[in-house]
Subunit: 150 residues, 2 copies
């Protein structure tokens, strides 16, 4: 497949991004694509923060993928900057066709260009296909990811 662009998301991309977040076994229960207000408010915060890189993958004028990259400066590991990948989603029509690889490779290359020393992400323990995918791309499942809802 051709004609792929990975670019910064704009407010106009929000409906397409939210539709992808919701079209997922886990996302279906926790997203509200019919209520755009909370997504719009969150987008404004993301856009105002220079350490956030929310991108979409576009093919033939259509949004087919997204992820968010966050740069986090830190003291540990000799003052290493971490790049954190969150909210990776691929449109159903594109799954298995290599777009996930393109997006993660973009994120790794961008992290390196921005001076990060480490790229990290967490993946729900039930997403075993995703785990194999990240390991193929060179990531190591060295950690457990803990969450607490407030």
């Amino acid at each position: 497949m051709t004609d792929l662009t990975i670019r910064r998301a704009t407010a106009d991309d929000l409906p397409a991004i939210v539709a992808m977040l919701a079209d997922d076994p886990l996302g279906a229960t926790r997203e509200s694509p019919d209520d755009p207000a909370p997504y719009r408010a969150a987008y404004e915060q993301i856009a105002a923060d220079p350490h956030q890189h929310l991108v979409v993958a576009e093919r033939s004028g259509r949004v087919v993928g997204t992820l968010q990259l966050t740069l986090v400066p830190g003291l540990s590991r000799r003052g290493a900057t971490r790049a954190v990948i969150e909210a990776v989603r691929i449109h159903a029509d594109e799954r298995g066709a290599g777009l996930g690889t393109d997006l993660i490779e973009w994120a790794v290359a961008t992290s390196r260009r921005l001076g990060a020393d480490l790229v990290q992400l967490t993946s729900d323990a039930t997403r075993t296909d995703a785990h194999r995918f990240y390991e193929r791309l060179g990531f190591t499942a060295s950690h457990l990811g803990f969450k607490l809802a407030l």
Copy 2:
């Protein structure tokens, strides 16, 4: 034990923080407490980023603990803001005495006050004592944490 203060770290706290980062089975191999320059540079970046909250716990005028809290706005989970905890360290003299609980409870309360919807962290798979500790504090080990060094 009494007289505990949790407060924002200053540049003057860097030697004590770096000493704690290095005094750890994993940290011993990846920190350089005798070379302060990379830590100083990273501290300047942390201090300039309003989404970073690098704190120390001080008892009787002595730095005995640290952690870093990062607020990350996002679209998923209806525009949820995540609070990410990194680089939790407790001075050897204070381990097992409840300071870790105090620090994590401070981080959770601060995350809530700052409007976060979720607190998350990763812990090296080999730190099994830490895993039980986070589960006792209400965290769920629902994810795998992947890392890629650049």
